[in-house]
């Protein structure tokens, strides 16, 4: 891939941006992002950060943003409904669909484009501030398209047990969408946000999402991210989370779809006593590629982080995990652990896992480990000694491997839906009868 043609590629993606906002600062942010896109290039495997992720298939296709969203019947949208949801925002090809969305009293869950003014100061303080686009062409592109998006503001001390469901539906072949999400959890508040990426058909399209979350002191955010895009799709996502004093953030990301996906997640423990838990599962097969890059940045003392990332890779698929844990000089008494566990189901499957610890403080507790393997012979034998066929035993163990992450999802309906999806995947991964669970 040569630089000249890929630079041109990003310029072509910039076509069809939404109209200007009435807010000068927002237009300035977008203009800065447009400039940055002009200076950046499509990453290649020569870039250290993209070493294992060859996205050149993307540049062989061209994608255009939707100018208006198609109408979808309520029954179509409700295929992906989360019955527990207190509020729902639906975006079709990146465009806000108010008729499918509903709010919750006391909570702001609205379209970013139409409500930025009302929440001007709060939004201005956070939008584009956490997810920097200096070095990331996709984040810059998303910011250049800033218009519709999810704005969630959880007022001080509000505890919302039911989740807020953000549903992003892709409907068009060769469509490009730029989902944007900003969550502001005010002090002492608690919320569960589900970001859910789905497709109407198994087409090639581009989803380029950016999510920013700001947790004030003692706030709690549980963040579920389900990427069940078309297996022909390209999915790039950049999520940046900032944690204030004694706040707690729990992320659970599940990647099932996309031909090529890249998920960046950065959590900045910006004040004392912040805690974050980051769990991830990629379940892929065929010729899929799923890349997860995480950075847990312990900037202040007494932070706690826990991370479990799992990949189940079948066919000729490829998973990439890069888990960076940074403990800065002032971040004494940091307690951090990270585990990367990978299951290869076929001889052609491949995983590249790279735990990365950078510790500049001396009084810290950091543990990390990575395993790559096939199903354990003794585990398979145990199940077979109870009468299960080889296939049933392997399916059950594969399912269990994934279920360990899925069972951490705090939304029952989504959890059981995903358990079914994992079960269906593990059943098709092998031949013969599958366990009846």
């Amino acid at each position: 891939m040569n630089t000249a043609s890929t630079a041109g590629y990003l310029d072509r993606l910039l076509q069809g941006r939404p109209p200007a906002s009435s807010l000068p600062w927002l237009n300035q942010l977008r203009a800065n992002a447009v400039d940055r896109v002009g200076a950046l290039t499509v990453p290649t495997t020569r870039d250290e950060d993209w070493r294992f992720t060859d996205i050149s298939p993307l540049t062989k296709l061209s994608f255009q943003p939707a100018q208006r969203a198609p109408q979808l019947a309520p029954a179509t949208v409700d295929r992906w409904a989360v019955p527990e949801a207190a509020a729902r925002l639906v975006f079709i090809d990146g465009i806000y669909a108010p008729r499918h969305s509903f709010n919750h009293a006391g909570l702001t869950a609205e379209n970013l484009a139409s409500n930025t003014i009302g929440h001007g100061a709060g939004v201005q303080a956070h939008l584009g501030r956490h997810a920097g686009f200096e070095h990331n062409a996709f984040t810059a592109l998303n910011t250049a398209f800033l218009h519709d998006g999810a704005l969630i503001v959880v007022p001080r001390d509000m505890t919302l047990a039911a989740p807020v469901h953000l549903l992003f539906i892709a409907t068009r072949k060769h469509g490009a969408s730029y989902p944007r999400c900003l969550v502001i959890a005010e002090s002492g508040s608690a919320v569960t946000v589900v970001e859910d990426f789905v497709a109407l058909d198994n087409e090639a399209y581009l989803t380029n999402a950016v999510t920013e979350m700001a947790l004030a002191g003692n706030a709690q955010v549980r963040h579920v991210r389900v990427q069940r895009d078309s297996t022909e799709a390209f999915h790039f996502a950049d999520c940046a989370v900032s944690l204030a004093r004694a706040s707690r953030y729990h992320s659970i990301s599940v990647a099932l779809g996309a031909r090529i996906s890249r998920h960046n997640l950065r959590a900045l423990l910006a004040a004392e006593g912040a805690e974050c838990t980051i769990d991830g599962l990629a379940l892929i097969g065929g010729r899929q590629l799923a890349d997860t890059h995480t950075l847990i940045d312990h900037a202040m003392p007494q932070g706690v982080s826990r991370q479990l990332h799992k990949c189940i890779v079948d066919g000729a698929a490829r998973a990439v995990f890069n888990g960076n844990i940074m403990v800065r000089a002032g971040a004494q008494r940091t307690d951090s652990s990270q585990s990367s566990r990978n299951l290869l189901l076929s001889g052609k499957a491949r995983v590249d896992t790279k735990p990365q610890l950078e510790i500049f403080a001396d009084d810290v507790k950091c543990a990390h480990g990575a395993t790559v393997g096939q199903l354990d012979v003794d585990e398979v034998f145990y199940l077979k000694s109870r009468g299960l066929s080889d296939t049933a035993a392997r399916n059950l163990l594969t399912y269990a491997f994934g279920a360990e992450v899925i069972e951490r999802i705090p939304v029952a309906s989504l959890r059981s839906r995903l358990e079914e999806a994992v079960l269906a995947r593990t059943q098709t991964a092998a031949t013969g009868t599958a366990p009846q669970l």
């Binding site: 354990d376 012979v377 003794d378 585990e379 034998f381 145990y382 199940l383 077979k384 000694s385 109870r386 009468g387 299960l388 066929s389 080889d390 049933a392 035993a393 059950l396 163990l397 399912y399 269990a400 491997f401 994934g402 279920a403 360990e404 899925i406 069972e407 366990p435 009846q436 669970l437």
Partner: protein, 264 residues
């Protein structure tokens, strides 16, 4: 218990087995009839656990000689799952943990698979729940065990009770219990042994593989066999276990060598 008219369940003849090219079993002979309880004892490394795993079909062990008949059929030609369905059960020394799968799901799957293999009726989740709760009373198990992941976070005693619960559900003709007493405190030992005793009947047989005599105070064997270097070197009644407890294993080997010298 020894019955005069009982039929032979298991006949092991000159069994040799290797792991990674190293011979562990070197001419094992054993006959087990229905109704009987056998104890296989012996020092560490004598091949007791290997024998148990070979009978259940563990893929790491290669049979290099001899034969095993189970109810007259060639056991070694069956896959592990076929052996289980035919009525061979191995209680594991170290039962594996399966995070993410509820114990109730696993138990029902195993039960229904084996039932189907035997041409018997399967149970739906509600029916199975009643059935398994009844069996759990035998082992004084809290119903919470059904909702927890298979063996995950179970204590040593809880894991062994879960093994015997599987034995109760699968109703094997031949149960081989590998070091079922290891890691058990005295109360757990009493409960586990009580469960095994309740399951023993005239139509099945139990082979206890154990290093210590302690278990045999609770499950009284009809025969005690001593293994050494991959085969049975001495067989006696339950009193042999007491003698081993008092004198250790060395004298058996010494007696054997003396016997070999005397006969040559």
């Amino acid at each position: 218990m020894i019955y005069q008219d009982s039929k032979t369940l298991l006949a092991v003849r000159g069994l040799h087995a290797t792991v990674n090219g190293i011979e562990i079993l070197k001419g094992m002979d054993l006959t087990v009839r229905s109704g009987e309880v056998h104890a296989i004892m012996g020092p560490n490394g004598s091949g007791k656990s290997t024998f148990a795993k070979v009978l259940a079909g563990h893929p790491a062990y290669e049979v290099s000689g001899g034969e095993v008949l189970f109810e007259g059929g060639k056991l070694l030609e069956l896959k592990p799952e076929e052996r289980a369905r035919a009525g061979v059960f191995l209680g594991f020394q170290y039962p594996i943990e399966i995070p993410g799968v509820a114990n109730s799901q696993f138990l029902r799957l195993a039960y229904n698979t084996v039932q189907a293999g035997r041409g018997k009726d399967e149970l739906d989740p509600l029916e199975f729940d009643d059935f398994v709760r009844e069996k759990m009373k035998l082992l004084e198990m809290n119903p919470d065990f059904l909702d927890r992941s298979v063996n995950e976070g179970f204590s040593g005693g809880e894991k062994k009770r879960n093994e015997i619960l599987q034995m109760a559900l699968l109703e094997p003709k031949l149960a081989i219990l590998d070091e079922t007493d290891s890691g058990l405190d005295i109360d757990a030992l009493r409960i586990v042994a009580g469960g095994v005793n309740a399951l023993a009947n005239r139509d099945n047989a139990i082979v206890l593989v154990t290093h210590y005599q302690r278990l045999l105070n609770y499950i009284v064997p009809d025969y005690v066999h001593v293994m050494d270097s991959g085969r049975i070197v001495k067989t006696g009644g339950k009193e042999l276990a007491l003698e081993l407890e008092a004198r250790g294993y060395d004298w058996v080997g010494a007696e054997l060598k003396a016997g070999v010298r005397a006969s040559t």
